[in-house]
């Protein structure tokens, strides 16, 4: 978040250098901080889900302690994913049109369906199948409001016989397998929203969806690390180092692939140096200097890369305490870095004129729909929801059933 503050400092008085089309000479870019948050939040959802899939599909047993937490994280953020989009609309009350008359050539129209599919058919279902046995159990033992909630979520199915539970596990696995391409679809399409705009050389790029997916996986795993550390700290549990180290390992390799692909993109852009390259150079040197070089490249990629990379090599020799610190610091830095990356994509694409003759500025305000306050609120909301979800579904007081998510106990 700090990375944006710097952009305000950089803001110089002549707001337009060179020529910008008259319609582009508005006070704010059309898509502001809310649209920065939108791919960020969606990416966290996709990443957290991929993280959970590691347990179920790829049977990484070390990650079992964070399986449910990652799924709940994905859910909490998915519930908020539409909000920034909704708030930035000129006519939010007309949003239903996107479902009623979706224009199928528009990547944005598919959003309603991809979102609904992902929420209803993948995430909620997987959670439901995973929790069903527990929900039935809890609904019997818990009284009061909580009990009612559990009962509602059982949807009236109380069959917890071994074959029924076995079916749950099987369904969960199928959903996870379906979920991985769905998560890619959910976030790949967000990348496509930008990548499909041929009018904008900063966005119109075939590998934009891939970059979005990879950075989403990185940020999602980082968020799970972050949430896991916070949860254990609140509950005064000890961190399971095996789990944390495994997460750090996946985080490192995800970051490696992400950095490689993003680097490739940059090499291509610089080498091809197509029309408008000079205006983009100006932009990188001036308008995006801090968010790109400091936020995205240094804080978001280079430092965590070195920290996590050194852990991969020297894990045995680093004391646990230091390792924990290094991993959580890397996770936090990656979370900031990916936010900076979204900023660079969304805001960066609007800081130069499509006439390729000038650059615009952006000064973020505190109040207003696209302001700081709203942004922080929208970033905080998923955590509030997550807290409620954790209280309800990850309560320590409730016994959990014996079945493991990857289903090794049954066949």
């Amino acid at each position: 978040m700090t990375s944006e503050v710097t952009n305000i400092v950089v803001e110089v008085l002549p707001r337009f250098e060179g020529y910008v089309y008259p319609n582009e000479a508005t006070a704010h870019p059309l898509w502001g901080f809310l649209i920065v948050l939108y791919p960020y939040i969606t990416g966290l959802v996709a990443g957290a889900f991929i993280m959970a899939s590691l347990v179920r599909v790829f049977k990484v047993k070390a990650l079992e302690p964070v399986y449910r937490l990652s799924l709940l994280t994905a859910l909490a953020f998915l519930l908020c994913a539409t909000l920034p989009l909704l708030f930035h609309l000129g006519h939010p009350e007309r949003c239903y049109e996107i479902m009623i008359t979706p224009h199928l050539t528009s990547p944005m129209a598919i959003f309603g369906f991809v979102y609904a599919w992902y929420l209803m058919a993948v995430l909620l279902l997987e959670l439901w199948f995973d929790y069903r046995q527990d929900l039935v159990e809890w609904s019997k033992t818990t009284a009061g409001f909580k009990g009612i909630i559990y009962r509602i979520f059982t949807v009236g199915v109380t069959d917890v016989s071994p074959p029924a539970v076995a079916l749950d596990v099987k369904m969960g696995r199928i959903l996870s397998v379906v979920g991985i391409p769905s998560a890619f679809l959910l976030h790949g399409y967000v990348g496509f929203i930008f990548g499909s705009i041929k009018a904008n050389p900063w966005w119109g790029n075939a590998i934009m969806p891939i970059i979005f997916i990879l950075s989403a996986i990185v940020s999602g795993i980082a968020l799970c690390v972050f949430n896991y550390m916070v949860l254990t700290w609140i509950r005064r549990h000890t961190v399971e180092m095996r789990c944390l180290d495994t997460m750090a390992m996946f985080l490192f390799y995800a970051l490696l692939v992400d950095a490689a692909v993003e680097g490739l993109d940059w090499i291509h852009r610089i080498y091809a140096a197509e029309e408008g390259f000079s205006v983009m150079q100006t932009m990188i040197r001036e308008k995006l200097f801090y968010t790109l070089n400091l936020g995205q490249a240094t804080i978001g990629t280079l430092v965590p890369f070195l920290l996590l990379g050194s852990l991969q090599l020297l894990r045995r020799r680093v004391p646990e305490m230091v390792r924990r610190r290094m991993i959580s610091a890397s996770a936090a830095m990656i979370l900031i870095g990916v936010l900076a990356m979204r900023w660079n994509v969304v805001i960066g694409g609007q800081l130069f004129s499509k006439s390729l003759r000038g650059v615009m500025g952006y000064k973020m305000e505190f109040a207003g729909v696209e302001g700081w306050f709203m942004g922080i609120l929208l970033l905080g909301l998923p955590f509030v929801i997550l807290t409620v979800l954790v209280k309800l579904f990850l309560s320590e007081r409730l016994p959990t059933s014996g079945h493991t998510p990857h289903g090794s106990s049954t066949t």
Binding site: T101, V157, L167, D168
Partner: protein, 150 residues
């Protein structure tokens, strides 16, 4: 064998899915605008609604109804391509009700086009106003027949 019996949880989900898809279909029927799809993937009535706006500029044809003599003069000289409202301003009210007179003109209208400017094409008649004449344009030029003097 009574092998196949739908497990209860799957049955519930199938019903739930049907409920959701069904309510979506119903909502779609009620919320789709009536003329949607008339010409394409949009509200056909929008064409009419956009066309319903009242024009502001009356157009040369409207002027021709009463001032055909002036238009005839205009057509015979260098200003033949000019629209009446380019100089006389928006004259819709005047076209609707001839008693409401159009805006009075000043020389600045002439200068707007004829002031010398290096970006203007060379074929276009331009003057450097301060070197040209300090009086009224109409002292020497008839706007409707600019090649003639009064």
């Amino acid at each position: 064998m009574r092998r196949f019996q739908m497990p209860p949880q799957i049955l519930r989900l199938v019903l739930l899915t049907l409920a959701i898809v069904g309510s979506y279909m119903v909502a779609r029927v009620f919320l789709t605008p009536a003329t949607f799809g008339q010409y394409g993937w949009y509200r056909g009535a929008a064409l009419e609604e956009l066309a319903a706006r009242t024009p502001v500029y009356a157009g040369k044809k409207a002027c021709d109804e009463c001032h055909s003599d002036i238009l005839h003069k205009l057509a015979g000289d260098a200003h033949k391509t000019l629209s009446c409202e380019a100089c006389h301003g928006v004259s819709r009210t005047h076209a609707d009700d001839p008693d409401i007179l159009p805006v009075k003109l000043t020389g600045s209208h002439c200068i707007r086009c004829h002031e010398a400017n290096p970006s203007r094409p060379a074929w276009f008649k331009q003057i450097v106003v301060k070197d040209h004449y300090s009086g009224k344009c109409t002292e020497c030029h008839i706007p409707h027949q600019p090649t003639q003097s009064p």
